[in-house]
């Protein structure tokens, strides 16, 4: 564990150096991802000019949920972006061997190769929106709640990672699973708004099957005093652990399949 942390620190330092070399490009990426998120907020703003509330949720509350959604998403985006490349081309081009040739965990090896700083666009906008809406809503948080907030954010990121890992691992069998991953990743759009606006089958899917609901709306509603501690916070935590176990099992099986078939 200590070795992995020290390794990751080395990678981080290296990528930061590269980042400093290409400052302008980093800024561009950051602005890009930031603008996308801001256009979503502008959209909500235009809508709330027409209606007093959305299904009982005020503009500020919706902004809180929307902003909350960006943070786990950005965190996962920052750390595990290479999973997209796995789904798209690593197996197709026969480049997976290298991850099996070093005495470190192959998943760590794969993921540590890319740190996607563009994700700060999502992270910064998300954090700004959460803080802005909290001030507007006059939400005060205790120290314990800050800890719970961090717990749910990390859990949410783990859920994102697990879903990506699961569908990216399918590439061990079908070579290219990029579009399948993209399709399932698209489901995360549902979690940006209150789940109550959706029909029952969709709610079921994004709560129990592809659990994006736990990456934003469910934990966020706890902090808005609209949900209880157990389902919202511990439910999120449990969903994260469970999804990671399932995804990691599939990943391990994928490697096994790779070991028996080669490239």
């Amino acid at each position: 564990m200590k070795r992995y942390l020290s390794l990751y620190k080395t990678f981080l330092a290296q990528y930061l150096k590269i980042l400093m070399e290409y400052r302008i490009d980093f800024l561009i990426g950051l602005i890009g991802f930031g603008i996308i998120q801001l256009s979503g907020i502008a959209f909500l703003y235009l809508i709330f000019a027409e209606i007093p509330n959305l299904n009982g949720w005020s503009f500020e509350q919706i902004v809180f949920i929307y902003g909350f959604a960006q943070i786990p998403r950005g965190l996962d985006h920052l750390i595990t972006d290479n999973l997209w490349i796995l789904s798209k081309s690593i197996i197709v081009k026969g480049q997976f061997d290298r991850y099996l040739l070093r005495p470190i965990n192959p998943l760590f090896h794969l993921v540590s190769e890319v740190i996607q700083f563009d994700a700060f666009g999502e992270l910064l906008v998300g954090i700004a929106l959460v803080i802005w809406s909290m001030i507007k809503l006059k939400i005060t948080v205790s120290f314990l709640q800050i800890l719970l907030f961090i717990l749910t954010i990390i859990s949410g990121a783990v859920i994102y990672t697990s879903i990506k890992l699961l569908f990216a691992s399918l590439s061990f069998w079908i070579k290219n699973s990029h579009e399948i991953l993209w399709m399932n990743y698209s489901l995360s759009d549902f979690s940006k708004y209150p789940l109550s606006i959706y029909s029952k089958p969709i709610r079921t899917i994004i709560t129990y099957i592809i659990p994006f609901g736990f990456t934003a709306f469910i934990p966020a509603s706890y902090f808005l005093n609209k949900g209880n501690l157990y389902t919202c916070v511990f439910g999120t935590f449990a969903a994260a652990i469970l999804s990671f176990i399932i995804a990691y099992t599939i990943w391990l099986n994928g490697i096994k399949a790779y070991e028996s078939s080669g490239s």
């Binding site: 561009i28 990426g29 890009g32 996308i36 299904n55 399709m183 489901l187 759009d189 209150p194």
Partner: protein, 275 residues
């Protein structure tokens, strides 16, 4: 100057090869449509909740039914006109293969145009036409108060084609920026974010504050999505439709000149710096 027919004979194989290579991965095509449909579904539920929360049945002249049609046609339009020419140019600049394309006895712009056209044809045949036919059937059988007239559909396809040309020219100019930066990915993302919002793909332009609408009149964005969709839905009369089409043509002329100008500058840079 070669005749148009001869030009098509030379360049149409580029379109064909794009279609062929895309159709080798049919499952990917289907999945990408499914992903888009999911995003559209989110918008549908959101609008449903918005109308449920409103005391009025129509917002800015749009009923919920109108709005559902709007987001669906919007989705179809964005799939139709989207191309990744900017990435393609950037990739060729990065790999240095753009020089190879310049020494071939074909016009690079025309070649790119026909490649984008290939994707358009593919989307048209395998997605847009079937989906629109299906929509017309649904609308007619449920006998809603609104009907999509065939003349509107025809004008829609004309307008969508013009949108395609506008976006193509915008993308060409963007791709050439790759000569100046390596993070073309970030730049195209900014372009994507801006065009998606300001073209009315997310929400009809009429929902925007008046001053924004005024500014947008002087920009090409609404010609990308809002114009064809409004024409399709019959939200505007024939005279207005024609003037929107003329405006689109105007933008094409302007952007064509602009893209050629940028191109000449970029090429000069290429020949000086040697790629």
């Amino acid at each position: 100057m070669l005749s148009l027919k001869r030009q098509c004979e030379i360049y149409f194989p580029f379109s064909k090869s794009v279609i062929q290579s895309n159709m080798t991965y049919k499952l990917n095509f289907v999945m990408s449509i499914c992903g888009g449909l999911l995003k559209t579904a989110v918008m549908y539920y959101l609008w449903r909740a918005i109308y449920n929360s409103s005391s009025q049945t129509a917002l800015n002249g749009f009923t919920l039914n109108d709005m559902v049609m709007y987001i669906i046609i919007s989705f179809i339009t964005s799939r139709l006109i989207t191309n990744s020419i900017d990435f393609q140019i950037a990739e060729e600049v990065k790999q240095g293969s753009i020089a190879m394309n310049l020494i071939k006895p074909i016009d690079y712009h025309t070649k790119l145009f026909f490649e984008a056209l290939g994707k358009l044809i593919q989307e048209l045949i395998f997605f847009a036409i079937p989906t629109i036919a299906f929509l017309i059937m649904i609308v007619h059988t449920t006998a809603g108060n609104q009907q999509i007239s065939l003349s509107n559909i025809f004008l829609y396809f004309v307008s969508a084609f013009l949108s395609f040309c506008i976006l193509f020219l915008i993308n060409i100019s963007f791709g050439l920026i790759a000569f100046y930066t390596i993070n073309i990915w970030g730049l195209t993302y900014i372009k994507f974010a801006i065009t998606r919002f300001l073209s009315g793909e997310l929400i009809p332009i009429i929902f925007f504050p008046l001053w924004v609408q005024t500014i947008l009149k002087f920009m090409p964005f609404t010609s990308l999505n809002y114009s064809p969709v409004m024409i399709c839905l019959g939200k505007i009369d024939l005279k207005q439709s024609i003037s929107l089409l003329l405006l689109q043509i105007g933008w094409i002329v302007f952007l064509f000149i602009l893209s050629r100008w940028i191109w000449n500058k970029a090429i000069k840079r290429l020949t000086i710096l040697g790629g």
